[in-house]
């Protein structure tokens, strides 16, 4: 089938078995993909095996194509923090690698007896022993898997000590960097004794009208760069929409280079260096010079702690290594007011071991099933600092989220690009998939995520 591998895998941790299956194409017709299809799989598995507590990882039809922002996959499960079904986006280069590893959807059920990591590669799914890494932090875990498997481009969803302790403050980490998991998905992995999930593949994605899809991608990219992004870059550019107008200025002394996720023309990821000069552009001997800032709400939360920027960034690195939700950490840091980095580390370390969730007001605030990692609007494309647009985007934001999570496109980009609307997305889907889908059908399907 165009845009998919037509491949899914069921990983049964109770039986230590994996079973590859053909993708149910009728379900794809009905649910298109991403969060909408994940939700259907979750409901199917839960109905048949209520004790299995399934986790579904799914790609969208556009994931892995050169359409702007098409690097998203989704993890869907019942959040141990909110008790509700939740969808967490997987971005950077991991979302696309899931599809290139040969799998469109992955169902994980049951619980392992001993710590394991899942290794999905070129259509093969292995349950591997994680004894050597069970006590390692997330950075050590990703390094170990990449060394063990001989490939620095393996993409890893990792967990740290917070997940191992089954703390509700646990967060998934993407390779080395904080994710958009603010609903304790990592706690769920910890309960299942999954230390990490690794992906790598030499996949090929067919498209019906691939050349036309590429032309559309180029024209969209040109228009996005000219009318929306212009020269904006870095997480600091989102400061006004996060309620932190001086975010860029606060970060500026540490910012090295900005970069983007797979196929995205907006480089909203900022790398900060504090273990060497951020002006060091050439490769140096310093193995771990800093941190990639991947989550706008997290950066804003750390700005609001009042910590000096380097202390804040080093504290965020501790969150990433331990796999602690930085929103929980920021709330605790604001409350405890640490005087130095050692005190901040102690606060974060306590969260990794805590059995209670630290107050993190964004989680579940509007009962949305989607991660609260983004601002409610991205207004630099409309009018600089226009607050009304943000308010107006409240409901529109939920639909944009649902569209992105279903099709495999970053919802932050969709929020910033109003002309990438339902009709345009339906056209892209029709071009690539080869079957006509209209915007009404698209809205009907993505609406299922909002029920």
């Amino acid at each position: 089938m165009n845009l998919y591998n037509e491949n899914m895998v069921i990983i049964d941790l109770d039986r230590q078995e994996t079973q590859t299956r053909e993708l149910d194409l009728d379900l794809v017709q009905e649910r298109i993909g991403g969060a909408a299809l994940n939700q259907a799989l979750y409901q199917q598995v839960s109905a048949q095996e209520p004790e299995s507590d399934p986790i579904i990882i799914g790609t969208g039809p556009l994931t892995g194509t050169p359409i702007p922002g098409a690097g998203l996959s989704v993890i869907t499960a019942k959040s141990p923090v909110t008790g509700q079904l939740a969808h967490v986006p997987i971005l950077q280069w991991i979302g696309s690698e899931i599809k290139y590893s040969g799998f469109d959807f992955i169902v994980i059920k049951g619980q392992a007896e001993n710590p394991v990591y899942l290794w999905l590669h070129d259509g093969l799914a292995d349950i591997a022993d994680a004894g050597a890494i069970k006590d390692q932090d997330t950075w050590q875990t990703t390094d170990w898997i990449r060394r063990q498997r001989g490939d620095n481009l393996i993409q890893v969803i990792s967990t740290g000590s917070a997940a191992a302790n089954q703390s509700p403050n646990a967060q998934l980490v993407l390779n080395y960097w904080p994710s958009a998991d603010h609903v304790g998905m990592a706690k769920l992995l910890g309960e299942k004794k999954i230390k990490a999930i690794a992906f790598r593949g030499l996949g090929i994605i067919d498209a019906e009208n691939g050349e036309s899809l590429i032309e559309e991608a180029i024209q969209l990219k040109d228009r996005i760069r000219k009318e929306v992004v212009r020269r904006k870059a870095g997480v600091g550019s989102l400061g006004p929409d996060l309620g932190c107008p001086d975010l860029a200025g606060w970060l500026k002394p540490l910012v090295h280079r900005n970069r983007s996720c797979f196929a995205c023309p907006f480089p909203c990821l900022s790398f900060v260096k504090y273990n060497e000069s951020p002006r060091m552009i050439a490769e140096s001997e310093v193995a771990e010079p800093g941190l990639l800032l991947t989550n706008p709400q997290v950066v804003a939360a750390f700005y609001r702690t009042g910590l000096e920027v380097e202390t804040a960034m080093r504290s965020l690195e501790v969150c990433a290594r331990l796999g602690v939700d930085p929103l929980s950490a920021a709330a605790a840091l604001e409350q405890n007011r640490p005087q130095n980095l050692e005190q901040a580390k102690a606060v974060i370390g306590n969260l990794a071991a805590a059995s209670d969730r630290a107050d993190a007001p964004l989680v579940g605030a509007d009962a949305s099933p989607f991660s609260p990692w983004m601002p409610n609007a991205v207004t630099f494309s409309v009018n600089e600092g226009q607050a009304d647009a943000a308010a107006a985007a409240g409901d529109d934001g939920k639909l944009r989220n649902a569209l992105g999570y279903t099709l495999g496109i970053c919802p932050l980009l969709l929020l910033a690009v109003p002309f990438l609307d339902q009709a345009a997305l339906a056209n892209l889907l029709s071009l690539g998939g080869g079957e006509e889908i209209d915007s009404e059908k698209l809205e009907e399907v993505v609406g299922l995520c909002l029920d």
Binding site: L202, V286, A287
Partner: protein
């Protein structure tokens, strides 16, 4: 090539691969985003022509004749370009057209 402008999106790899395999893939392009030093945030472009290997480091571009001793560094992540097919010099240069920042531009011969 202006590697410091690269934002590491990889769209160039995907569209170049499509020219060869008529499908979206990252295995057959003549241009690669070098991204094997993720913790250092050290990334750039590797590009293979019929006669040269062009290493687009963020600090500057190096060119070497294929078969001569190659520029150092890059580790295992850099060596892959050597087994890729050489650039077909497509007249419409989709890699340059899809690049969002102008890090890749097509030059007239």
């Amino acid at each position: 090539m202006d590697p410091i402008e690269c934002i590491g999106c990889g769209a160039c790899e995907v569209v170049c691969g499509f020219q060869r395999d008529v499908a979206f893939t990252l295995t057959s392009s003549s241009i690669i985003v070098y991204r094997a030093e993720e913790k250092k945030n050290y990334f750039g472009l590797l590009y293979k022509t019929k006669t040269e290997l062009v290493t687009g480091r963020p600090e500057g571009v190096q060119r070497a004749k294929l078969g001569a001793s190659q520029p150092s560094g890059g580790g295992a992540g850099g060596k892959e370009i050597l087994i890729r097919p050489a650039c077909d010099e497509c007249s419409d240069a989709p890699c340059a057209r899809i690049c969002p920042t102008g890090a890749i531009e097509m030059e007239e011969a």
